[in-house]
Symmetry: C2
Subunit: 185 residues, 2 copies
DNA sequence: TACCGTGTGTCAGATAACCAACACAACTTG
DNA sequence: CAAGTTGTGTTGGTTATCTGACACACGGTA
């Protein structure tokens, strides 16, 4: 059920144009008019898909999350590398993500990211925790995901100065230390 | 008076798709259907711009000639380098040209190329021929252009085995040797 | 204050591109 | 030979996009 090629192309050029403006003219408020002129589409067309710039960035964030899901699905990384891999994706594969994630200060991005990728992450994190109940799994995941989201958000906001390895190893420690609670035997 | 963005995009993907098929599936008859499927456009749309594959390749040849004109205008090369430059354009800047030029064996391509670029080449070739009349200029250009076109066509057909330098120096000799006829003093 | 330039969001009507279906020709394959 | 298969052009009706215009909100400036 692929959408109309016209729609795909139009949305694509809108997003590319927005991204281009974002990267080449920082500290500059981006207008709908600008985006449309760069994309060579009519403003009317823009409004038939988005209410405003904000709804565009929202969709781009969704795209980004879908892309990350695809990455995770495709490579299905195991064990301790999971977090490092995750952080590296954010750092390398989506270098532009930080731009539009922060553009309208949408701090819910990382919460949603972990929510949407729950199925792909959960099995990985809880591998080997035989005694933990499904209910407990949910709560533990919520707790850990929120923590990670907070860290990543802070990392992004600060301009990602720390290396992916540092962040990943830090998060790994935090996740690992809960093993004792549920797996003490 | 730029044409509609929709038209530009549609034609662009048609040409790219055709080129792709041409490069990746040589010795294979290319159908309208194939091109449209690759380009993700409707066959009806194709027929609203082209009568058939042949009329597509014809337009691509025109594009190629326009591009070459642009090159010549942009850099305005002088003197003996002209021919070398010209041949190099054909060899390097338009590596795909030969594919669709030869696809339906349109031997008129080079004739047209020299005809369309006449203004840009003429002044260059006849530089210094003070005694030659405008009428003579026309005839001389026709003669030299036809000769060059024939050589280039043969070169293309043969797979461009000779280097651009060889061809250029050969053509330059042929052009130069007419100087004595018109400029003997 | 009033004026002006610029961006916003929306509309009706025109054009481009879409889809599904058709008749037809050029072939394979039985 | 007849029955499929595949590509060709063409049609009528639908959807996406474009154009030009409009009323409105906003900030700067005389």
């Amino acid at each position: 059920m692929k959408s109309d090629r016209r729609i795909r192309y139009t949305k694509k050029v809108i997003k590319e144009s927005f991204m281009d403006l974002l990267l080449n003219r920082p500290s500059h408020k981006i207008t709908v008019k600008e985006v449309c002129e760069k994309a060579e589409i009519n403003r009317t067309t823009f409004y038939s898909y988005y209410d405003d710039i904000h709804s565009l960035t929202k969709e781009m964030q969704n795209d980004s999350i879908s892309d990350i899901r695809q990455y995770l699905l495709q490579y299905s990384v195991d064990g301790d590398d999971m977090i490092l891999y995750f952080v590296k994706i954010l750092q390398n594969s989506f270098p532009y993500a930080s731009k539009y994630i922060l553009y309208d200060n949408n701090s819910k991005y990382f919460i949603r990211l972990f929510y949407e990728c729950k199925d792909l992450i959960l099995s990985n994190w809880l591998k080997g925790h035989v005694k933990i109940t499904p209910i407990q799994q949910e709560w533990l995941y919520t707790f850990l995901a929120s923590g990670c989201a907070g860290i990543l958000r802070t990392w992004f906001m600060g301009g990602m100065k720390e290396s992916a390895e540092e962040i990943a190893s830090f998060l790994n420690q935090l996740i690992k230390c809960h093993d004792v609670i549920f797996d003490a035997k």
